[in-house]
């Protein structure tokens, strides 16, 4: 199927993908921990950005536990099609749900960083078969 690529390019590609995976992981991991450290924040986010009211601490903890499994599997490169796909969709939801922030851009500059992160998720999903450095088979 795919032809062999030059060792230099393979190296650069694998290092790039590793960097993207670790970068996306950092954000996803911190937001996962936030669900445990500060469940009230997650409840507020679900309510304000997604219109899902009435979440309890218990729901936040369960979501947090599932998300923890997902982000650890993601950083280890396990079941890439599934984990990278899910991370891409989840972060897509985050990015698009903040639309009100983009309408008032200069008071919400930090929100824009969601876009290159989404691009990183997209790149990882698209190139998942080439992302093999420091992954678990």
């Amino acid at each position: 199927m795919s032809q062999p690529i030059s060792p230099a390019l393979t190296d650069r590609l694998q290092n790039s993908l590793l960097a993207l995976r670790v970068g996306v992981f950092i954000v996803m991991f911190i937001w996962t921990l936030d669900k445990f450290v500060n469940p009230a924040h997650s409840i507020g986010v679900l309510d304000k950005f997604y219109g899902i009211g009435g979440s309890s601490h218990m729901i936040t903890y369960i979501l947090g536990a599932l998300q923890l499994l997902l982000v650890l599997a993601f950083v280890a490169g396990i079941k890439k099609r599934f984990t990278y796909g899910l991370i891409f969709l989840m972060h897509g939801g985050s990015t698009l749900s903040a639309f009100a922030k983009y309408a008032d851009p200069f008071n919400n500059l930090l929100f824009f960083a969601a876009w290159p992160m989404w691009a990183a998720c997209f790149a990882l999903y698209l190139l998942r078969d080439a992302d093999v450095k420091f992954t678990i088979k």
Partner: protein, 136 residues
């Protein structure tokens, strides 16, 4: 030098690189515009995050230079220089916010600087492959 990638991988790689370039551009462009719309914000950022005092005029000049840079970056012109400067600039932004990472849960939005840094790094590393929608 480098052998040809399979058409499929090559297509995927080029789409991925366009997405990364566009994503990084959006952020860089908004922060550039902010220099013109709200120079006071930039002056404050310089003082708090970099310890540099500046004036409105300096902010406008920096904004103008940055605008040229980010548009060249988007167009893929002189990639080694433009991608390299964007990488260095965003690395400085990322590292200068170290206080925000220490108080992580009150500054969750700051962490998105890291995957963006990874995106800048990937673009620099793979700049020779990034040819889709670029100006020769």
């Amino acid at each position: 030098m480098s052998q040809a990638l399979s058409t499929d991988t090559n297509n995927r790689l080029q789409c991925a690189l366009v997405a990364l370039r566009l994503g990084v551009f959006i952020v860089m462009f908004m922060w550039t515009m902010d220099k013109f719309i709200n120079p006071g914000h930039t002056a404050k950022v310089f003082e708090i995050f970099y310890g540099i005092a500046s004036s409105t005029t300096i902010v406008y000049i920096l904004g103008a230079l940055q605008l040229i840079l980010v548009l060249s970056f988007l167009a893929g012109i002189k990639k080694r220089i433009t991608y390299g400067i964007i990488l260095l600039m965003h690395a400085a932004s990322t590292f200068s916010a170290y206080n925000q990472y220490i108080d992580g849960f009150n500054n969750l939005l700051f962490f998105a600087a890291w995957p963006m840094l990874a995106a800048c790094f990937a673009l620099y590393l793979l700049r020779d492959e990034d040819v889709k929608f670029t100006i020769k």
